[in-house]
């Protein structure tokens, strides 16, 4: 079997769905962040697959930028998680309900 564009696209779509489901169902902040990373990387995979089959380098350049952005987001996210862990000693999102109204 020849692996073609469609295989990559379906794989990326599956990964994206797993990421979305992970964000919506998991309660631990770190697992949610990992699911978000999965979503971003599935989008990157889509970009690279299209880029390869369209013979257009724009998609691959885009991925460099999006990887940088993802790194910056993880940096700020972990900083926020550290401050919240200092105050509450918990990473369970269900326990963070001070602002619920």
């Amino acid at each position: 079997m020849v692996i073609g564009l469609n295989h990559y696209l379906i794989l990326a779509a599956l990964l994206f769905t797993i990421g979305v489901v992970g964000v919506l169902t998991r309660r631990n902040v770190l697992i949610i962040m990992m699911s978000v990373e999965l979503m971003l990387n599935s989008a990157n995979l889509t970009l690279i697959a299209f880029s390869h089959y369209l013979l257009n380098a724009v998609g691959q350049v885009f991925v460099f930028f999006s990887m940088t952005v993802a790194a910056a987001e993880v940096g700020i996210g972990l900083a926020i998680i550290v401050t919240i862990f200092r105050n509450t000693e918990s990473l369970d999102i269900a326990k963070l309900n001070l602002l619920k109204n």
Binding site: V36, S42, A43, L47, A49, V69, G77, N87
Partner: protein, 489 residues
């Protein structure tokens, strides 16, 4: 060859953006050089002067229009309009920040740095002509805002607001990126001009993947503009953030999100308008209604303003889905008016809140008899509330009038009726505050000290004057909005 390349970049056209970054770095440098404790003064002065320069540069550059960086960004009247609006909002917020970050125990120059970087991101969003630039702009803005919301590290509410904002923001980044990937796959480009050409020629045979991509990008913008059903983060982030940041977040990023939203959907996905106006019709209805219903139940003025900002975003969508010049210029007009009146209202809320550390002073009861204690402040709040409710002769009235008249002339009569009804409901909670301020006896036992500085007085005065001036002479601003939109459509 190298000279040609640099000349083709037109670096001069992005001078205001370069200035913003230079000012941001100058601010952080001053914080390092000057002794601890005294540096905020220096950082404040540099940021204010720098932003004045940015506004001046944007104004004097308004004639030099065209593409820059090989079509990655587009400098036109539309960009200039948002440059001045966004820099001015940032200037107002930074202007009142010096004493505020002292009493909230933030006290670090990163506050200014993050505000300036957020401004830079928003400027990229408004001028981006490539989805890459818009993506980078949204992310630069969002990452700075996550940090700003969590600036008061010792406060649990601030941590929690930042975490929720961050998690949901990162979640939407995934949607945005995946949407861009799908659009790139169909059209073979991320440039808005190329996408427009491709989708126009595709016409009714637009591939389903392009629709999916446009849908995902729409979700991302709806999230950034805090529209129902993508609004869950906004009340928590708005309440947890330091109040100056709440005032900033509910005005400038919303304006920038609509600026990019307009450019992407009116230009790139313009040929698909039949599809997305239908979706936006529902988003507009639920945003206006849910925002109102939730705002009615609030006892905290800060939360009430947060929920009502969802309603106001709903009004903006009403004008958005008319897909025409009239609607687009109504959006620009309303963004300016909303920015001014909302910042004013939040500043008075900061003043009345007696203790920034526990946030208890945002209750409606704290405004009882304010007119006997601080008549000027009460009258300023009255102007802002009337304007938010859309009562003449304030600017808010004309903002809503232009929005709903654009909806009627585009044939969305039902939507305009729903909008006007919602606007009538919203009068209740704005009026409730006015009644508390003017018609209730003051309760001397519970009232606290008022936090008021000269800078806050100046900014509130500027906001009051602008709200009344635009209310009396709306034509100048409307013409500016029309001229800006003409560059877009």
């Amino acid at each position: 060859m190298f000279d040609n390349l640099i000349a083709g970049m037109h670096v001069g056209r992005v001078l205001p953006e370069i200035l913003v970054v230079v000012v941001a770095f100058a601010a952080i440098l001053i914080d390092i050089i000057m002794p601890r404790g005294r540096s905020t003064r220096g950082v404040q002065v540099v940021s204010v002067l720098g932003l004045l320069m940015v506004i001046a540069a944007s104004f004097f550059q308004r004639g030099d229009t065209g593409q820059a960086f090989s079509g990655m960004v587009m400098i036109d009247n539309y960009t200039t309009f948002f440059r001045i609006l966004l820099s001015a909002i940032t200037l107002l917020i930074i202007g009142v920040s010096e004493r505020y970050i002292e009493i909230t125990r933030i006290r670090i120059a990163e506050y200014y740095l993050m505000l300036l970087f957020a401004l830079f991101g928003m400027l990229l969003m408004t001028m981006g002509q490539d989805l890459l630039i818009i993506f980078l702009g949204i992310e630069t803005m969002s990452v700075s805002l996550y940090a700003l919301v969590g600036m008061t590290r010792h406060k649990h509410a601030s941590n929690e607001g930042a975490l929720k904002y961050f998690l949901l923001g990162a979640f939407t980044t995934g949607f945005f990126l995946y949407g861009i990937a799908l659009v790139f796959g169909v059209t073979g480009s991320t440039n808005i001009v190329d996408i427009t050409v491709f989708l126009k020629s595709a016409g009714s045979e637009t591939p389903i993947i392009a629709w999916a991509g446009a849908g995902l990008i729409m979700i991302a913008f709806a999230f950034k503009a805090a529209l129902v059903p993508f609004h869950w983060w906004s009340p928590d982030a708005y309440e947890g953030a330091p109040t100056t940041i709440t005032a900033f977040m509910s005005t400038a990023p919303k304006a920038a999100a609509f600026a990019a939203f307009l450019r992407v959907f009116y230009v790139a996905f313009g040929s698909m308008s039949d599809g997305w106006t239908m979706v936006l019709w529902w988003i507009a209805v639920v945003s206006m209604t849910f925002g109102n219903l939730l705002a009615l139940r609030q006892d905290s003025v800060k939360r009430m303003l947060a929920f009502s900002s969802i309603t106001h975003a709903g009004y903006l969508v009403v004008a958005f889905l008319t897909f025409g010049q009239q609607g687009a210029s109504a959006i620009l007009f309303y963004l300016v008016v909303y920015g001014i009146m909302n910042i004013g209202a939040f500043l008075v809320a900061i003043a009345v809140n007696r203790n920034e550390d526990d946030d208890k002073g945002y209750h409606f009861d704290d405004y009882k008899g304010l007119v006997y204690r601080r008549p000027g402040m009460a009258i300023a709040m009255l102007v802002f509330m009337l304007s938010l409710a859309g009562i003449p002769p304030t600017a808010g009235f004309f903002g809503k009038y232009y929005i709903f008249s654009s909806a009627v002339s585009a044939g969305f009569v039902g939507l305009a009726v729903i909008g006007v009804l919602n606007s009538a409901v919203s009068v209740y909670y704005y009026l409730r505050l006015i009644v508390n301020m003017f018609l209730t006896e003051r309760d001397e036992e519970t009232e606290g000290r008022i936090f008021w500085t000269g800078e806050m007085a100046q900014v509130v005065l500027i906001c009051v004057i602008l709200v009344l001036l635009i209310g009396l002479f709306p034509d100048t601003l409307l013409n500016a909005a029309r001229a800006s939109v003409a560059a877009l459509l």
